[in-house]
C-alpha cells in the first residue's frame, strides 16, 4: 500500500491534516486503530480559556496572543515562528494561523452538514449537563443557544427524561440557579420538567443514545414534541439532554415550531452524542476532499533511516507495510494512545520519539508516576497531560538539540507537549490549528 501522505490517527488533528493535504490534490490515507479522545469530547470547540485556574482570558484571540508571546514551549508560541522571532510578531502570526484554521474548520463542518457557531473574539459560556458552564470559543450550533448571555433575564426549563440516570434536570436547574447568581447573569426563571419518550416509559436505565435515536425518528419526534409542549409551559428556552444523532439541527427546529421556544441541547460527558457528530462531520469533510479513512488499522512499528520510509500496520490477522512520502503523527496524548507506559516510563508509541515534560525536560529517565500530582484535580493539572513530543515551528518532531528527528515526519494534536488542554481548555484549538499546519507542511514536501 502507498499514499503521498499517511496520517496516523483519526481525531480532530489527524482528520484536519488529512483534509488539508488532500485539498492539495494528493493521495492521503488516514489509519486509525479504533478511536481516540476527540469522539469523547463534549461538542464544544475550545481554543483557549484559562491562563491559570482562576485566570480567564477575555477572549481566545487574547489568549492565543498572550501564550504565543510569553510561553516558549506552548504550541501556539511555536507555530508563531520559534523563540528567536520577536514576541509581537510571533503573537500576530500565531493568531493569524489560529483564525485561518478555525475558519477553515467551520466551513468544512458546514459543508459536511454540521453547524458550528462562535468566535475567537468573545468567550461563550455554554450551559452543561450539571448546570454549570463550559467556557469555549465555538460549539456545535445545537448547543450554542444555551450560552449564559442568551439565558440572562429569560425563562429556562431543563427537561430530563425519567429513568435516564445520567442527567437529573432538577439538580441541573438548582445548580444553574447557583451558577448564574454567582456570575450575576440570572435568568428570569429556572424550572425543570420530565419528558415522556415513547417506548422508554417505566425504565430506569435509559441511555442517551436511545433518546437520541428516538429524536431522529420523525414519528417519534412528533410525539416527543407533543409531550414537550404539554410540560414546558411558557418557557422561552428549553434545555434537552440530546437532540439526536442524524438530524439534530432539523429536530431542534421541529421542536421549536411546536413549542414556540428556543431549544438547545446540553454538552454532555461521554458517551457524548455531540462528540460523535463532531468526529463524523470531520470524517465526512475529509472524505469529500478525497481522503481515505481506514479504521481497524493499527500502526505497530516504523521503518526509518533519516526519513520515515514506511510504517507497519496490523489489520486483523495480517500486517502490512504502508509507504508514503510524508507522515503526520496525530495519535493523541496519553489518553488517546499516542503516549504509553512502558516499563514505568512514558514513551511515544510508534517512532519512539524522545518525550518531554511541559517544561521541556527530557523524560527518558523520569518515572511516569512522577508526572502525576497527588491531588486528583490539581489546579495546574497533572504534568502527564502536558507531556509529549517536542516540535519545531514546522511541526517536525525534534530531539534535544532541536534538530528534526525525521525530515518527513510532522506532528499534530495532543501528542505535542507544552500545553495542558484540560486546564487551559485549549484541546480542540491546538488540534485543529496544528492539524491544519501539519497537513499543509506535509503536503508541500511531497
Amino acid at each position: 500500500m502507498r499514499a503521498d501522505v499517511l496520517v496516523i490517527g483519526a481525531g480532530a488533528a489527524g482528520l484536519t491534516a488529512a483534509r488539508k493535504a488532500a485539498e492539495k490534490g494528493l493521495s492521503v490515507l488516514v489509519v486509525e486503530k479504533g478511536s481516540g479522545a476527540t469522539i469523547q469530547s463534549s461538542g464544544a470547540i475550545d481554543v483557549v480559556g484559562y491562563l491559570l485556574p482562576d485566570c480567564m482570558f477575555a477572549s481566545a484571540s487574547q489568549g492565543v496572543r498572550t501564550l504565543a508571546s510569553v510561553y516558549r514551549r506552548h504550541p501556539y508560541s511555536i507555530i508563531g515562528g520559534g523563540w528567536e522571532t520577536e514576541p509581537e510578531v510571533r503573537a500576530q502570526r500565531s493568531e493569524k494561523l489560529v483564525r485561518e484554521a478555525l475558519r477553515d474548520f467551520v466551513d468544512a463542518m458546514r459543508s459536511a452538514g454540521v453547524g458550528v457557531l462562535g468566535s475567537l473574539d468573545e468567550n461563550i459560556l455554554v450551559t452543561n449537563f450539571v448546570g454549570t458552564f463550559k467556557l469555549t470559543s465555538f460549539c456545535l450550533s445545537t448547543i450554542y443557544n444555551g450560552n449564559l448571555k442568551n439565558l440572562e433575564g429569560s425563562s429556562v426549563v431543563f427537561v430530563g427524561v425519567k429513568g435516564f440516570p445520567e442527567y437529573d434536570p432538577k439538580f441541573c436547574a438548582d445548580s444553574f440557579r447557583h451558577t448564574t447568581s454567582c456570575l450575576r447573569t440570572e435568568p428570569k426563571s429556572v424550572d425543570h420538567a420530565y419528558l415522556d419518550i415513547p417506548g422508554l416509559e417505566g425504565r430506569s436505565d435509559i441511555l442517551q443514545v436511545e433518546i437520541a435515536r428516538r429524536m431522529d425518528d420523525p414519528e417519534m419526534l412528533r410525539r416527543i414534541g407533543e409531550n414537550l409542549q404539554r410540560i414546558v409551559g411558557t418557557a422561552e428556552y428549553i434545555a434537552l439532554p440530546t437532540a439526536g444523532f442524524v438530524s439534530p439541527e432539523e429536530n431542534i427546529r421541529t421542536l421549536e415550531e411546536v413549542t414556540g421556544a428556543t431549544v438547545f441541547e446540553l454538552p454532555s460527558f461521554p458517551p457524548s452524542v455531540p462528540g460523535y457528530r463532531l468526529v463524523k462531520g470531520l470524517e465526512k469533510a475529509s472524505q469529500s476532499a478525497g481522503v481515505s479513512v481506514k479504521r481497524g488499522y493499527k500502526v505497530v512499528a516504523a521503518n526509518c533511516d533519516d526519513t520515515v520510509k514506511s510504517v507497519r500496520v496490523e489489520v486483523g490477522r495480517k500486517t502490512f507495510e504502508i509507504e508514503a512520502d510524508t507522515f503526520v503523527l496525530a495519535t493523541g496524548g496519553f489518553l488517546g494512545g499516542g503516549l504509553r507506559e512502558e516499563g514505568d516510563f512514558l514513551r511515544e508509541s510508534i517512532f519512539n520519539l524522545p518525550v518531554y515534560s511541559g517544561d521541556g525536560a527530557n523524560l527518558e529517565e523520569t518515572y511516569l508516576v512522577r508526572l502525576l500530582s497527588q491531588e486528583v484535580f490539581p489546579g495546574c493539572g497533572h504534568e502527564l497531560f502536558s507531556s509529549g513530543i517536542r516540535v519545531n515551528e514546522n511541526l517536525q518532531p525534534v530531539s534535544d538539540g532541536g534538530e528534526p528527528v525525521y525530515s518527513n515526519l510532522y506532528a499534530a494534536g495532543s501528542i505535542i507537549s507544552g500545553y495542558n488542554y484540560m486546564t487551559e481548555k485549549s484541546g480542540m484549538g491546538v488540534a485543529l490549528t496544528t492539524g491544519y499546519l501539519a497537513g499543509l507542511n506535509a503536503a508541500s514536501q511531497v
Binding site: 417506548g199 443514545v209 461521554p270 486483523g316
Partner: protein
C-alpha cells in the same frame, strides 16, 4: 492433589453449580475487564440503532456489568441473544474490549447451566448439528447434484463434477450454507478454482465449521467439530483451506490459530489476491458483453473478525473487472442484522437492521449488490425481495463465476 480429594472438590463444585474458568476464558475475561464503561460503543451498536426492545442495554452492559458478575451471568439472557457479533463495538473501543467474545462466553455458560434460557428457536439447528454435524438437514447426494444443476442453469453457468483428490494443495470448504441451502455458491467456487487452474479438492463428509454451535453456546459440539476438521485437514495434507463464507473463514482461522496448525485459511478473495495475484486474475476475464454497476456489502465476519484488508481486497477485485463499475456504499461495513443467530432469535429486529442496509444499497444506485458471505446474502436478498426493489443480490463468488464464464 491426590485423586480422592480432587474428586471430592469436583463433587462440591458440581453440587454448588460452580464451573471453573478455563485458561483461554481467563485471558478473555482479562481483556473484557479493560472496559472503562465509557459507552462509546452504544453509538455504534446496530441493535440500538433500530430501537428494538425495552431490555436491550447494549454492548457496554455486556462487558461492564455482566462479565463482572459472573455468578449472575444468566441475567444476561435478554441481552446476549440480541448481539449480532458484528464487532463494531470492539473496533471503535479505545481498549479493544472483545465484546463478541464476552457474548459467546456468556452464551456458552447459559447453554451449560441454564439450558432452559437458551432460545427455543435454536432447537432445529441444534438437532441438525448433533445428528448430521451440519447446521441444516442435508439432502441425498443425487438430489443435491440435481438442485445444484438447476441453480447453475438459471445462472447460465456450466456444471463441473466434484473433485476429490488426495494430494491437492487446496481444500475448498463450502460450509453448511453453500453445501446445502445455496449450492450455486459451492458450484461457482469450483468454477472459479477450475479457471484459476488451482490444484484443489473437496472434502468428503463435510461438517460444519462450528460457528453456529459457538453462537448457540454449545461449546462441546464446537470442540467436536474442531477436532474433526483438524483431523481431516491433517489427513488431506493440504496447504491452504479456501472458503466462500465469511463465518467459516473467521471460525476456521480461529481453529488454526488455537492449534498452531501448519495450513492457511483463506477466503477465496484472499486466495485470489495473495496466491493468484490480481494481474493474473484480471487476465482470465474476456470481454463480457454485459456492463453492470456493483456495490459491496462487507460481512462483519470478514471485515472485522478476519481483518479490514479483506474489504480492501474485495473492492480492489471489483474495481479491476472489465465491464464492472464499482460503487461504494455510504457505510460499507454496516451489519446486515443476521449475525449471531439474531435472525432466529428475533427476526423482527433482524429485519429492522437490514432495512437500513437496503436503503443504503438503493441510494448507491448500483444494480447488483455482492457479498462474500452466504448468511448476509440471504438476509439482504430477502429484504430486497420484500421491498420489491429492482436491485439483485449475488454472492461474491457467484458474481465472479458469472463474469468469468460470460453468463
Amino acid at each position: 492433589m491426590p485423586e480422592k480429594e480432587m474428586k471430592h472438590i469436583e463433587g462440591i463444585l458440581k453440587e454448588e453449580d460452580i464451573t471453573l474458568i478455563e485458561p483461554d476464558e481467563e485471558e478473555a475475561y482479562r481483556k473484557i475487564e479493560a472496559c472503562q464503561n465509557c459507552g462509546l460503543c452504544l453509538a455504534f451498536c446496530p441493535i440500538l440503532e433500530v430501537l428494538p426492545h425495552e431490555s436491550y442495554s447494549g454492548p457496554r452492559s455486556i462487558t461492564s456489568e455482566l462479565s463482572r458478575t459472573v455468578r449472575e451471568f444468566w441475567k444476561a439472557k435478554d441481552v446476549v441473544y440480541y448481539c449480532t457479533l458484528c464487532g463494531r463495538c470492539q473496533e471503535i473501543c479505545s481498549k479493544n474490549v472483545p465484546v463478541p467474545r464476552a457474548v459467546t462466553l456468556i452464551r456458552a455458560k447459559l447453554f451449560k447451566q441454564r439450558r432452559d434460557l437458551v432460545p427455543k428457536s435454536f432447537e432445529t439447528m441444534l438437532e441438525s448439528l448433533h445428528e448430521h454435524g451440519l447446521a441444516f438437514e442435508p439432502a441425498a447426494e443425487d438430489e443435491r447434484v440435481e438442485r445444484a444443476k438447476g441453480r447453475l442453469e438459471m445462472l447460465g453457468l456450466p456444471y463441473v463434477p466434484d473433485r476429490v483428490e488426495s494430494n491437492a494443495e487446496v481444500l475448498y470448504f463450502p460450509g453448511c450454507q453453500a453445501d446445502i441451502l445455496l449450492p450455486e455458491i459451492r458450484e461457482s467456487a469450483k468454477l472459479v478454482l477450475e479457471k484459476l487452474g488451482a490444484d484443489y479438492t473437496l472434502l468428503p463428509g463435510l461438517k460444519c465449521c462450528g460457528l453456529p454451535s459457538v453462537l448457540m453456546g454449545d461449546s462441546e459440539m464446537a470442540d467436536e467439530l474442531e477436532k474433526d476438521f483438524l483431523e481431516k485437514v491433517k489427513n488431506l495434507g493440504v496447504k491452504t483451506v479456501v472458503t466462500t463464507c465469511a463465518g467459516c473463514t473467521a471460525t476456521l482461522e480461529g481453529i488454526r490459530q488455537r492449534n498452531d496448525a501448519d495450513f492457511m485459511v483463506k477466503h477465496v478473495i484472499e486466495y485470489i489476491v495473495e496466491d493468484v495475484g490480481k494481474e493474473k486474475f484480471r487476465e482470465l476475464f474476456g470481454d463480457h458483453p454485459g456492463r453492470v454497476t456493483v456495490t459491496l456489502h462487507a460481512p462483519c465476519h470478514l471485515d472485522r473478525h478476519v481483518g479490514k484488508y479483506t474489504t480492501d481486497y474485495a473492492e480492489e477485485i471489483l474495481e479491476m473487472l472489465p465491464g464492472v463499475e464499482f460503487r461504494r456504499l455510504e457505510d460499507p461495513e454496516r451489519c446486515c442484522g443476521a449475525g449471531g443467530l439474531l435472525n432466529l432469535y428475533n427476526p423482527r429486529v433482524s429485519r429492522a437492521i437490514v432495512r437500513k442496509e437496503i436503503e443504503d444499497i438503493q441510494r448507491s444506485g448500483a444494480q447488483t449488490v455482492v457479498t462474500p458471505c452466504p448468511l448476509c446474502l440471504v438476509q439482504i436478498d430477502q429484504a430486497l425481495f420484500k421491498k420489491k426493489a429492482k436491485q439483485e443480490a449475488l454472492d461474491y463468488t457467484v458474481f465472479l463465476a458469472k463474469r468469468l464464464y460470460g453468463a
